[in-house]
Symmetry: D2
Subunit: 402 residues, 4 copies
Amino acid sequence: MYEKVIRDNVHGDIYFHEPIFMEIMNTPEMQRLRRVSQLAGASLAYPGATHTRFAHSIGTYHILNLFFEAQDFQKISKAEKRLTYLAGLMHDIGHGPFSHTFEKINPRNHEEYSIDIIKNPKGNISKILKKYKINPDDVAAIIDGKYPNKVLNLLVSSQLDADRLDYLMRDSYGAGVDYALLDAKWIVRHAKIMDDKIVFPLKTLNAIESYLLGRHHMYQQVYNHPSSIAFDSLFTLWFKRFLELANNNYSFKNLAIVDYFDDRIKDQPLSLKKYLQLDDPLMMSFFANGAQESDQIFSDLSKRLLNRGLFKVVKSTPHLKSKISNQLAQKGYDLRYYFDEYIPKRSTVYQNDFSGKKDETIWFDEGGQIKPLSTLSVFTNSINLVTTNNNEKNLLFPKELV
Amino acid sequence: MYEKVIRDNVHGDIYFHEPIFMEIMNTPEMQRLRRVSQLAGASLAYPGATHTRFAHSIGTYHILNLFFEAQDFQKISKAEKRLTYLAGLMHDIGHGPFSHTFEKINPRNHEEYSIDIIKNPKGNISKILKKYKINPDDVAAIIDGKYPNKVLNLLVSSQLDADRLDYLMRDSYGAGVDYALLDAKWIVRHAKIMDDKIVFPLKTLNAIESYLLGRHHMYQQVYNHPSSIAFDSLFTLWFKRFLELANNNYSFKNLAIVDYFDDRIKDQPLSLKKYLQLDDPLMMSFFANGAQESDQIFSDLSKRLLNRGLFKVVKSTPHLKSKISNQLAQKGYDLRYYFDEYIPKRSTVYQNDFSGKKDETIWFDEGGQIKPLSTLSVFTNSINLVTTNNNEKNLLFPKELV
Amino acid sequence: MYEKVIRDNVHGDIYFHEPIFMEIMNTPEMQRLRRVSQLAGASLAYPGATHTRFAHSIGTYHILNLFFEAQDFQKISKAEKRLTYLAGLMHDIGHGPFSHTFEKINPRNHEEYSIDIIKNPKGNISKILKKYKINPDDVAAIIDGKYPNKVLNLLVSSQLDADRLDYLMRDSYGAGVDYALLDAKWIVRHAKIMDDKIVFPLKTLNAIESYLLGRHHMYQQVYNHPSSIAFDSLFTLWFKRFLELANNNYSFKNLAIVDYFDDRIKDQPLSLKKYLQLDDPLMMSFFANGAQESDQIFSDLSKRLLNRGLFKVVKSTPHLKSKISNQLAQKGYDLRYYFDEYIPKRSTVYQNDFSGKKDETIWFDEGGQIKPLSTLSVFTNSINLVTTNNNEKNLLFPKELV
Amino acid sequence: MYEKVIRDNVHGDIYFHEPIFMEIMNTPEMQRLRRVSQLAGASLAYPGATHTRFAHSIGTYHILNLFFEAQDFQKISKAEKRLTYLAGLMHDIGHGPFSHTFEKINPRNHEEYSIDIIKNPKGNISKILKKYKINPDDVAAIIDGKYPNKVLNLLVSSQLDADRLDYLMRDSYGAGVDYALLDAKWIVRHAKIMDDKIVFPLKTLNAIESYLLGRHHMYQQVYNHPSSIAFDSLFTLWFKRFLELANNNYSFKNLAIVDYFDDRIKDQPLSLKKYLQLDDPLMMSFFANGAQESDQIFSDLSKRLLNRGLFKVVKSTPHLKSKISNQLAQKGYDLRYYFDEYIPKRSTVYQNDFSGKKDETIWFDEGGQIKPLSTLSVFTNSINLVTTNNNEKNLLFPKELV
């Protein structure tokens, strides 16, 4: 029997039992994810959090494997399991440099690129899939949430999917915090399928409550950490300056950057070809080169990105906003590049009211009846409150000012 | 009281009680270590092993902290403790891209650059040190093993120093293997000082034996993993081709690489200034750019470095060596760039006979008498044997050949 | 310097720096705690949860040690620290067999016995304390919450005291569940003292929320596990039968049990002398002997206690209650001993309204202002709700009935 | 599909897929193992090491489960797997109080009792087995190493069997030491069957070397810990005094002890019936009762067993032996009960020369050839040396003497 094993620091040994998975992993498209950090600026606060989208992709595959050990999921056909594994492995193949950070400067999200990459007839992925008689559209459909067997879609994207279970554990492990060292095995191993839904037995309720609070805490401690926010802000300001210069025919010493971002200069989303060439190290080299540019603002912002010259983050108040902007102006800072207002990532924690949004109810099986989490767990309501109130803005500005 | 804390995924919270340490860490020189991976090619086998020299530097500081909790070490003066902490934090500040891998293409080792960086009167480090009335030479002396209080030197570099204890634990944790999840606290907390030596009580003997076997296994499983060997080899061949092209006036599309490696083209070690600009991402950008070059060999080796196109590694025999080189030649491969012989890193495991080498005896206190490990632990002899016999060569060549 | 170390499986090495602590630990009074299980019936569900009050006592000492590393707590005098350590080590010295289970059959709680044991002028504890010029009343006062320096009382008994932090971690570790693998170090290390209160900085809020939810889950999964409830119920019924027999001059083959429980037969709380002779193994030997008695009910209940013949636990409804009691009666079961109604332990989770109860507010420092948890964390309200509603009864009866 | 799960603190969730296993576990014979501690006196040094033979039995079942996931083992028939699981669950069913300690006072080892208990036609085990059409002799044969399919015997008893892998991990976890936190999954998951042998691939060599050194260290640190040795010695001396008194018609206040040990008074091994009534708590109650006896020696030794009044352990030399025995005699100690000489448990670490003993070679598969460990690992020779030299005696005597 074919068997390959990869030792993962989060889940231990991960086994692969079909050669197609290794072939997919060995494509340049997937290997690029080794050069895309999972957490971007958060690693500037948590020095151990340097893990990549590549490791996360393998981990997602592993959680799917655990799901398929649950009784109801063993019944899924081998072909559909294979499709799900492929979707899990490749759901993040379209992430750009610094993962979500990049979505701030390019008007096309990573899921769209993921689907493009998988379907691209000239790419390596679709060639391998076709060799194994697999329709790339089927894999893409699962990522897109449109595959006919809805359970497969839910396994890859829902409130309690393989993606989230892996990234929460992995980010927790990488950061060295224990908020999300979940009992994923317990939850997943007991999942059921009822009415095309993934449904959990009551004995997993406590573990799922822990998972939800853990996710809430991960947003507060890691994903919305000031270093993470400040890096995203700085990156956005840097790119704004880059576009400004490029549009004004500034002569860059390093022309490569202009070439790579040609689409963006023309206000277009990056083409798939250009996008696939980008990764964290290339952006880092742009920062290193940018530091040598004569434009003082671009050079300074480049250095800051390279060497953790992050802006200070404080809660915004009207008074503070006007006070700081005045001080900055007085000291000669260009407010367009040295002052930012930022709303943290919504934690998208579990909500009891999904009206007007994608329904992401977590379902439970109570003696054969399917019930939503909200009827069983009082505590989740309050997290909901916390979240929806948490749209306060942050102000960002150079630390030197303080 | 001043207090800063960094959450590390290996050791937990690491506390800093003097502002000088944070100032040092915030210099571009130290921040560069965030962009230097600890394990280079090993992360191509162990996807979680993406930790950096920066995290390792903080971890080394932490192990020193544990040493200073042992009774005998509490007596060391505050000033000398500070010097030791600084040496621990900066002992790897001179590492180049991909850490040890870079030493294969530049004839100056990282310790020499570390000392240069610390002493450099124009650099940020010496400025900060002087601000706090610290002589950079003293810090450099500890790294160089020449500080008058020998115990400080031993804390930073010896068989059981803060450096090794951190990197073994960290590499083990990153790779997800348990060979070197050491009981470092137990060992370090009970260390003593006798006759200018660091001496361990008998109750640490078993933990130290575990440490030695763990280190031996880390060499076998991680440091000398085929992926690690193959990456080092590929990088060396790639650079050989680069020099060949540069010396023959090949016209590179991306001229930056020629500029950065000007010293090497002239067969000189890299100047400190150029060296300090190099890091993993810049090298990665050279691979990405190199992939676009018209020279087929350089382009192919660049792509291989970028996307894990590693050579196969097999044990060398005269027969195999001639057989494979013939096959390669027949298929038109240039043997200078597609065939390599490689002796794995010596594991430098504990030896009982240090004649003719730096004495690295591990000393024990048996009832007041100082005794070497060799008189107390029989099993270390055999590891010694294993190691000294392990100078066999590996052959490396494209997998496609097989 | 005096130093003893004990290796604990939960916290690692625990250091003792004064001989008095080892002397206290070596008394028969403290050694008895090695024979008192922490979790009684819960170990019948979680086979690894066999840890003892002795290990918990040492762990409590250890958490106090962590508190005393926080800056504000370093200022407490050496003498008061010693008193607190002693109170921590001995706060559970008065626990009877099977810990809290025993309080169901004896009308005096363990805290009262703890204080008696410490103050007892003929006991070993007070002799040792006096040898070291320590007033036993001071140690007892801390346990009783009446020591003048209120902070010491709070360290040993409050919402976030050394006792709870240890037992939640230890019970979680023993049961193999991860609900309460707390970041106790982070919480404790940053505790402050303001206005005679223990106050926590905002950066510990998330960890404290995790702690509260973790405690809630421990009640649901471990402390109120059906096996735990069923063991407590069975033990109470067994003892009821014992008293019934003893009061009716039943002739026990093993007279020891009558002698030990003479006070209870007279409806008095156990005298200190008798109480101190009791421990889990002695009770187990009573079960073993009881199994040989001719009284069928006492014999059967004894066997059940010995060999996990637990009753079934179901939620009580009026209908079910009458149905089951009828069935039992029909089959000839004596309802007094084979039918029980049981309200689970209140989880005493954090409450926002302490009116009419001991105030156990958790206080936070928000920029110098002391604020209660309820103003900072919305989610704790809902746990409060869950808890106060959770006074539902359980029915217990022989499984054979089902 | 039938499924029961037990949460174990060492291995996590352990699944059972046939009702027979739960029925076996619920017999009084198996439940008795909840009252038999795994490590006896070692828990007096490591307070967390209170785990039982019951947990170990479940853990052994779990390791067998891991073996059966390896490809070669999947081929074993369902019936033979069931037999092996049963043998794993019950291999220690015959352990007496304090496990191996009891074998010092009863001339019949636990394996013999295990086989008796399984075969006993009146016992609960054989009844259940027969209900499921299983021949108790087959289960007993595996434990006895005589089942025709030798691989089953090896799974339950050999150098790398399910029993040892579980107890090393469990004892390590309980004691809180990391010597034997083995990579058991890695080793077991890759095991093969060749020529009726269990054979390991080379990629497990390092993990197996770690296992062997870990076992060696567990003997040094835990199994032969002075507290462990002193408890065994004290127990033996106590029982010697008991026999002396019983044979001299001493009138015990508590006659039960005489009844239980009637066979031993007659110099016979304990009958199965009596043996099955014994467990740790009953022995503890004998110590508690013994403390009340008028015979001063028996009373004192009983108290010592109850409250950790252990003897001191020192290495024996002829000089020391005569010196201490003289001192003891002078002070009026009865040397027969207050002076002991003790050879620690042989660590039975791997040996390369099994001549004259049960062959316990660990076999490896090197490219299809079966080779013994000794030809592949140099370091194991030295452990062998250490072991065979380690037959030095210890002297034990009251601490008060020193």
